[in-house]
């Protein structure tokens, strides 16, 4: 495990450096002078120069890149221009919403995706199989914000079962009951993301069911549900797990539109607000945080994968 961990760890560090470089370069691409853009046409040249100096824009690019990396190592992701707060603090305050939404959506994804995939695999090329595959594909074709709005109309607007928007911390007033606010967002986000998991579960299960050890298990006279649960499912689990953790990373970070629909105070809605206000330091900070999160989840998945399947470590 040791050498594998070292090799993957080094790869992860390289990815982090590249991600940092990309976020730096992206903001260098902004045409014109961001300080002048921000201050508007009424600003005096002295004001613009002062702001440029405070951002370090009067220095050469390579020096700014050095400063950028130094600040990140110190845990500073810059300061929001509009809210005048450290970006990292704003992300921290909003991380709970995004993480909880990601976890709840993941429950929906796993519940729907894995069960649909296994059901389909046990009855390949039947009516059930095609129907489930079609529903999965339909789910992947729905815009998540549209599904969210439809659920909102039905379950919040008409039936009043769930609140239509907003969310406050489960550690504050209301406690765990606040999770009710995340039910509709998680359903809409989970449903559209379940397709990939359903298909992977199906093909992985189909592969395993054709393996010789499954035939052997059946030949020994084991009950079919024992064969499926103990012999097939365990071996089919690894590819499924990979897709699930990959989906988790994209659920947490990609919930941008869903958070916007349900007015959830998450990281996704922060970046939308920042884009609308051209709050470049916040955009840059959020992008970096989200991408690093993705790299870390990927790394953790690889480690889990290697732990579950010893063959991986020796490749």
């Amino acid at each position: 495990m040791g050498p594998y961990l070292l090799r993957r760890g080094a790869g992860m560090l390289v990815s982090c450096v590249l991600v940092i470089t990309i976020t730096f370069l992206l903001m260098e691409l902004i045409p014109g002078d961001p300080a002048a853009v921000l201050l508007g046409p009424d600003a005096t040249p002295e004001q613009v120069d002062a702001l440029r100096a405070s951002w370090g824009l009067d220095r050469p690019g390579i020096v700014r890149y050095g400063f950028y990396i130094r600040n990140i190592l110190r845990g500073e992701l810059g300061r929001s221009v509009f809210l005048d707060q450290p970006v990292l603090k704003m992300i921290g305050e909003r991380a709970e919403t995004s993480l909880l939404l990601g976890l709840l959506s993941l429950l929906v994804v796993v519940g729907l995706g894995v069960s649909a995939g296994i059901t389909a695999a046990l009855r390949p090329r039947t009516w059930t199989d095609s129907a489930l595959l079609f529903v999965a594909l339909l789910g992947a074709s729905l815009p998540s914000f549209w599904l969210g709005l439809m659920l909102m109309i039905a379950f919040a607007g008409r039936l009043h079962w769930f609140p239509s928007s907003g969310f406050s911390s489960i550690f504050g007033a209301g406690g765990l009951a606040n999770l009710r606010n995340l039910v509709l967002p998680a359903l809409s986000l989970g449903f559209v993301n379940a397709a990939l998991v359903a298909r992977t579960s199906r093909s992985s299960m189909l592969d395993v069911l054709q393996a010789e050890y499954v035939t052997t298990a059946r030949a020994k006279g084991l009950a079919e549900n024992v064969v499926i649960a103990k012999h097939a499912l365990r071996n089919a689990a690894i590819p499924i797990l990979t897709v699930v953790s990959f989906t988790f990373a994209s659920l947490v970070s990609g919930a941008v539109v869903t958070e916007n629909v349900f007015a959830l105070p998450g990281v996704g809605s922060l970046i939308v607000q920042s884009v609308l206000k051209r709050d470049y330091p916040t955009i840059q900070g959020v992008m970096l945080a989200v991408a690093i999160f993705y790299v870390l989840v990927n790394f953790a998945t690889d480690m889990l994968y290697a732990f579950l399947d010893p063959r991986i470590r020796y490749r």
Partner: protein, 277 residues
């Protein structure tokens, strides 16, 4: 032709092809057949529910939802096609060269991996922020840049396996130059994976473009698009759900037809998958 005929044999694919032809037809003729011009305001007809004169209802300006939905298909197809072409134009050459030359591949793939750590919608939002204003061309470039890495990846991994083939070695042995090999021996074999990937990037592109419009950072709101219509309809989601309902159904059907088509193409063109699907 055999490809088309065999695809029509599957019910789901027939459904997708018929749907797609219908939608394309709508996009082509809509300006001449819709009952009202897309921008026609009729303030006395605000927020009318669906009825015979307005089969899909009207919005908060009294504009006819049916007309706007049908005309909105034009910008959807325009964006989908342009973004996929963008990804093809840049993705295929970069992918081939990275797949054929190990050193280039090593660098490019590292970069692609890092780029793919950014969720598509966040990367697209960042590009829109950099460009500074809504616009059709800006959306095409932003989403094109987002989906190009996936195209590069597909072309790269296909090239990796193609270059090991016996006929490539034979070509090299008789002294064919690398440019000739890439153009005449590698590129033609990339056709199937590239077509499949382009179909899926079309579906993803129009979903992405609709999301940008919905968030208010896509194309200018003066151009009727499904995403913009849904964005404007949010304020009236309970009072007038039809403003959102119909553009969403059209968007979902368009994406679905491309996804079904992509699946069918992949099954036909990649025999290894046929066993599983």
């Amino acid at each position: 032709m055999t490809l088309l005929r065999s695809m029509f044999r599957r019910k789901a694919t027939t459904f997708a092809l018929v749907l797609l032809i219908l939608l394309l037809l709508i996009a082509a003729v809509s300006p001449w057949v819709v009952p009202y011009p897309a921008g026609a305001l009729e303030l006395s007809h605000r927020l009318l529910s669906p009825r015979s004169v307005h089969p899909f209802g009207t919005d908060h300006f009294g504009r006819d939802i049916l007309s706007r939905t049908l005309i909105g298909s034009r910008i959807t197809f325009l964006l989908g096609i342009s973004i996929s072409l963008f990804a093809l134009f840049f993705g295929v050459p970069i992918g081939i060269v990275s797949g054929y030359y190990d050193r280039v591949g090593l660098v490019v793939m590292r970069l692609i991996d890092a780029l793919m750590a950014f969720p598509a919608i966040i990367l697209a939002l960042a590009f829109m922020a950099i460009f500074g204003r809504p616009g059709i061309l800006n959306v095409i470039i932003a989403l094109g840049l987002v989906w190009t890495p996936q195209m590069i990846r597909v072309v790269y991994s296909s090239t990796l396996s193609i270059r090991e083939a016996g006929y490539i070695e034979a070509a090299r042995a008789i002294g064919t130059g690398p440019v000739q090999i890439l153009l005449h021996h590698v590129a033609p074999n990339l056709l199937s994976p590239v077509i499949v990937q382009a179909t899926f990037s079309f579906a993803l592109s129009i979903l992405g473009a609709a999301a940008l419009d919905f968030l208010g950072v896509g194309i200018p709101p003066t151009i009727p698009s499904w995403g913009t219509m849904m964005n404007e309809g949010r304020m009236y989601v309970v009072r007038a759900p039809w403003i959102i309902l119909f553009p969403g159904i059209f968007l979902a059907l368009t994406v679905l037809s491309f996804n079904l088509l992509g699946d069918a193409l992949r099954d036909r063109l990649d025999p290894r998958l046929r066993r599983l699907l």
